[in-house]
Symmetry: C2
Subunit: 359 residues, 2 copies
């Protein structure tokens, strides 16, 4: 607590007075309190020619304080990689809980699964619209309207009506392909196992954080024990100096031994903590990279299948256009003279012209 | 009647015996009876080197008999023109009435009006189908499905959804143009006046036929009167030869005068008949040509407007295809790295990596 801050302050003041460069051994471990800000400012304003590394724990994870010191380089510069940006927990503004950076990454993948399902649903709706349209066109193509038109004009009209059925077939084909090449894949991409795999990652990382919290508690406990032992030693030493008690040197040696032991305990706890944090760190890097890869694959897969959608749309419009061509052809062949010939041959009443009556 | 047939037969037999060429003056007018067939056959089998013109009246119109003689050349050869093929009446097999060739032509035009209306109805149905399709696509384009997709993939998806609305607009435009450029014209082409005009033609030609029938009745009446007069003269002449009666030459002169007068009456009636038939003939040629022209115009007009239909179909499919292009463009721009950058910038929790705890 404050004790340490004051002690640190004094060490540094001393070093400054003596022009001494403070080495790594002088790292001071501080808990996160309001004093840190004050202290940091003090360090900065005094332009210390030191490289102090001040640390803070947030939710049992140890971070360096921002400020002068060796800047951390991104693990994967210019890549905006997951492994570089999700170390801290995010505090939920609406409540007191916080969510880990990893959970943010995980939620994104789960969200992605939901989005692909919604896309499939959208495609399904399009399929229904196409089937309805095809059904209507097909029905209309069977209409007997103007079926009595004859000759080349009648043929063109008949083909025009038929072309609606051809168009219907094109749209039906489109909707079938939409189903097999876009909708169904969107529904089945990353099946149920995907969520299970994500859950496994989730639990694994969460377990490591729990372990880390547990190790951190041990460190705090050992730190407190050391503080107690040191205070005891100090008191006993002072008492010896002012001959306040009957304590013998034996007692001081014992107190000193216990203090040393407490110090060793603390170091062991810190070691274990650091090992666990390293393990968590490794898993974070590995797993976040895995999630990053999954996201790239997801985007590329969806891109590919949406391109399949647009390809089908192109094809459909082209096929649809070609359905009009036979109609165009027959319309071009419409020949009133031909139609007159056909009709007259069929319907003529008599080609012998009347002549004058004579006696 | 039979009297004439026998008389004609005898004249021709005589001529044949004497190797005489029978001139125009010897045209014999015969009523339509079974004898005609027998007679025609007789004429044909005897390979007469004559040009007999035997006539027959059907429904008061006078036609030359088929057979050897100057062939009638078509008024408009190789054109299958209405004016060449609709002279006779057509007998309705189901009843005793007959329908004129002209009525057949008229019915065709009236039928054409009905057919254009049916075509308009068909186009109307297509319009309804297009509007339904457009409505459905538009509605689906507003769907919030997968709206939470972000970055370049989200943009592509958003454009994909929007493209449905663009397609809907294309189809709506198509249906609107179908209405103004095809349906409406088909409905209004040849308005109500058309039927009225046709009715006028109908009545005019029918009136001329009625007049012709009336003139024909007069001819028959005059012919009978002549026959009576001639019989009377013959009887009176015979009676004179065998001195059967007290008839004086006066009576015979009177009978002969009446006979001559009856002959003149007949010739006048035949003249009037021929004038009326000529008038009807002219009107038939003129009006049937008019109907022929109307039919050519009808076919060409419909051809033109059905081509407008196919043009609109072509356009629609082309516009529709182009609606996919912005989607293609955005899909091409889908960039997982970019999306990661955007998302990470927005959602990162902290880029400071944990460090070892130290005392």
């Amino acid at each position: 607590g404050e004790h340490y801050i004051i002690a640190a302050q004094r060490v540094i003041e001393d070093a400054v007075d003596h022009g001494v460069c403070i080495q790594a051994e002088c790292w001071v471990c501080l808990s996160l309190t309001l004093h840190i800000v004050k202290f940091t400012n003090w360090v900065i304003t005094h332009h210390l020619s030191v490289s102090p590394r001040f640390l803070l724990q947030i939710n049992c994870v140890t971070f360096p304080l921002p400020g002068e010191g060796p800047e951390q380089q991104l693990l994967k510069p210019d890549e905006w990689s997951y492994c570089d940006y999700f170390w801290a927990d995010r505090k939920d503004p609406q409540c007191t809980t916080s969510v880990t950076g990893f959970e943010v990454l995980l939620q994104k993948q789960l969200k992605g699964k939901q989005l692909q399902k919604e896309m499939a649903e959208f495609i399904h709706e399009r399929i229904k619209i196409e089937e309805e349209y095809a059904k209507n066109l097909s029905k209309l193509s069977l209409s007997p309207l103007a079926a009595q038109e004859e000759g080349t004009l009648g043929e063109a009209w008949t083909q025009l009506k038929k072309s609606l059925h051809d168009e219907a077939e094109v749209h039906l084909k489109f909707s079938n392909k939409l189903h097999t090449e876009v909708e169904k894949p969107l529904l089945t991409f990353r099946g149920d196992n995907f969520k299970k795999d994500l859950k496994k990652y989730d639990h694994h990382i969460a377990d490591l954080r729990k372990q880390l919290a547990s190790r951190y508690a041990s460190v705090e406990k050992a730190r407190k024990a050391l503080a107690d032992r040191q205070k005891d030693l100090e008191v006993k030493t002072q008492q010896l100096e002012i001959k306040l008690s009957n304590k013998t040197e034996e007692d001081i040696k014992k107190a000193r031994r216990k203090s040393t032991q407490a110090g060793d305990d603390l170091m062991r706890c810190v070691d274990l903590y650091n090992q666990t944090q390293s393990k968590w760190f490794e898993e974070m890097v590995t797993t976040s990279m895995e999630l990053e890869k999954l996201e790239v694959e997801r985007i590329e897969w969806i891109q590919q299948h949406l391109r399949q959608y647009t390809t089908l749309r192109h094809e459909t419009d082209m096929f649809n256009q070609s359905m009009v061509e036979p109609v165009d052809q027959l319309l071009q062949n419409v020949d009133p003279a031909k139609d007159r010939e056909l009709w007259v041959k069929e319907n003529k009443t008599g080609d012998v012209r009347p002549v004058d009556m004579d006696i």
